[in-house]
Amino acid sequence: MDQLLQHLLNATILGGTYALLGIGLTLIFGIMRVVNFTHGELYAFGAYCMYALVMPLGLNFFMALVVAMALGALLGATIELLLLSRLRGADIDTTMLVMIGAWIALQNAEQLAWTGVALSINNPFPSEPLIVGPLSVSWNRVYVFFVALLLILGTYYLINRTHLGKAMRATFQDRDTAALMGIRIDRIHTATFALGSALAAAAGALLGPVFVVAPTMGDLAAAKAFAIVILGGLGNIKGATLGGFILAFVEELGAGYISSGYRDAMGFLLIILILLFRPTGLFAQKERVG
């Protein structure tokens, strides 16, 4: 029983960052109709920024997160302006191929810059865990969870309550009409991509100190983000949030009670089950012809 509770707690904490990853990806797809294959690399980029800022540069741990997010947004905006802005209206396969090219180039550039050695980041939290009854959890993870939650709520606020968010939602619903109403679609696209990238970088910067930082970390993150958005339906932000938590629970319980070697395969098995029994997705209303 205690073991189960511990698993549930771990899953909840993990779910926060998964949701963050999923929201960034689903936002970009929903508004831009682009499958962002560089998402995992932006996650890794966030983690490496965190490393560079905290370890050699000695920046404050909390400030470093903010800077890493800003750099992630900057990189995202650059990718968008450089590669995607010329492909407006291109079919989805074309943008996918371009993004895959960018993914391969970015990943190997990271590998070249940082070599394959895994790096670890010190954190300022007490090393003894927080113990509540039979459960224990490290302070760093508690911090990660609450920051992730804060960022998710912030994103919801941005989309539902601000002027920019309104423009984004309008673009999401009907790009052409939104353009006719005077919304600068180009700017919305750049802003969306920057926002999604910042969220990915934040997830990387948060999890970097929890695990280790390595060039291949992006692949796994991308794979999980894909699983999450498939669960929730591409372009569905609430779906991605729930999907993040569902994936975390399935992984944690699967690793705990079935097989830890297949932990990272759980998400894919979930996708396959969904396709078998509910191909329209858990939360999707429309048919999936992407």
């Binding site: 895959i100 391969i104 180039a105 894909f226 297949y262 396959i272 396709l275 191909p279 992407g290």
Partner: protein, 343 residues
């Protein structure tokens, strides 16, 4: 004249083992040939049905592992029930590799073609990743990262009439033969009723459906053929390199196949061959210049972007258009590469 050109090329290529004494060049030609087979199989899905299948390396790897495991024999416990296979002849193992890969293609086709577009792409990537994880984790069967070693080479016949494909010249002939057969199979399919149905669904799926084409059926057929062919390429690879580890499932190999197809020209018969030759020799040239593999992959990534921007339909259609411009009224090129000049 140009009707005989392809056959002339085949004869020329077939003569290579008789005069090529440099085994390094022969080795590159063999691996290029294997990759061309894989790229041709991907082209059937990517080019002719228009489905961007990014899990293609899974079929290649399944073929490689099936053939390796059957020729080596294995012993596993499935839910505490022992299950073993004694070593089988290599030709039988390769045949089974094709069948198993084709069957996997059928299952995946049935499953994945419930969705289209971005969903299909993500599902196909996920599938390859699951297969890779099985290869890494099911150590009892696959030896995991320790790899399967000492995979036997293909031999046919016995005693005096034994034909061994251990050495490079003989293996080259085998790979070339498989490539030619694969090409003919794909050309036959593309020019058949099924091929026209695939073209129709690529151009406009709803319209294809409305005129009574069973879209999913043709997609599944294409996937089965494509997967079986990729499985054959994997089986060739495994009995050539004679060692196989879970790295055969790496996404980067799918990317290599995709880049071969789109560079050469997706939806053309010659495209994967042209792309395959370019990207079979480019890595060797880069290696000769002592360039790190990371830089090679960066170059691949950038090339992929540039091709999409500047040569979206690939080299073969571009050459054909150039040719057609030179000689107006000559539709020979159009006939030899159907589907390329339709738009």
């Amino acid at each position: 004249m140009s009707r005989f050109l392809p056959w002339l090329l085949v004869v020329l290529l077939a003569s290579v083992p008789f005069w090529m004494t440099d085994y390094y060049v022969l080795h590159i030609m063999i691996t290029t040939c294997i990759f061309i087979i894989a790229a041709m199989s991907l082209n059937l899905l990517l080019g002719y049905t228009g489905q961007l299948s990014l899990g293609h390396v899974a079929f290649f790897g399944i073929g490689a592992y099936t053939s390796a495991l059957l020729s080596l024999g294995f012993q596993v416990n499935v839910f505490n029930v022992p299950f073993g296979v004694t070593p089988k002849p290599v030709w039988f193992a390769m045949l089974m590799a094709v069948i198993v890969a084709g069957f996997t293609g059928w299952a995946i086709g049935k499953l994945a073609f419930r969705v289209r577009g971005a969903y299909f792409v993500i599902v196909s990537i996920s599938f390859a990743e699951v297969v890779r994880m099985v290869a890494v984790n099911w150590v009892e069967l696959t030896q995991g990262p320790m790899a399967l070693n000492n995979i036997p080479a293909l031999t046919l016949g016995t005693g005096e009439f034994e034909l061994s494909f251990l050495r490079k010249p003989s293996f080259y002939s085998l790979a070339l033969a498989v490539a030619v057969i694969s090409y003919i199979i794909i050309a036959r399919i593309v020019n058949s009723r099924a091929g026209r149905a695939m073209n129709a669904l690529r151009e406009n799926e709803s319209l294809a459906m409305s005129v009574g084409i069973d879209v999913t059926r043709y997609l599944v057929i294409a996937t089965i053929v494509s997967a079986a062919m990729a499985g054959m390429a994997g089986a060739l690879y495994t009995h050539y390199i004679r060692i196989v580890d879970p790295d055969v499932f790496l996404f980067i190999y799918t990317v290599t196949m995709v880049i071969m197809v789109i560079t050469g020209g997706k939806g053309t018969l010659a495209g994967p061959i042209v792309g395959g030759v370019i990207f079979g020799f480019v890595p060797e040239a880069l290696r000769a210049m002592a360039i790190k593999p990371e830089i090679q992959w960066i170059i691949y990534g950038v090339l992929m972007i540039l091709i999409v921007y500047f040569l979206p339909r690939g080299i073969v259609p571009a050459i054909e258009r150039f040719w057609a411009g030179q000689k107006p009224g000559d539709d020979e090129a159009a006939r030899s590469v159907p589907g390329a000049l339709q738009k």
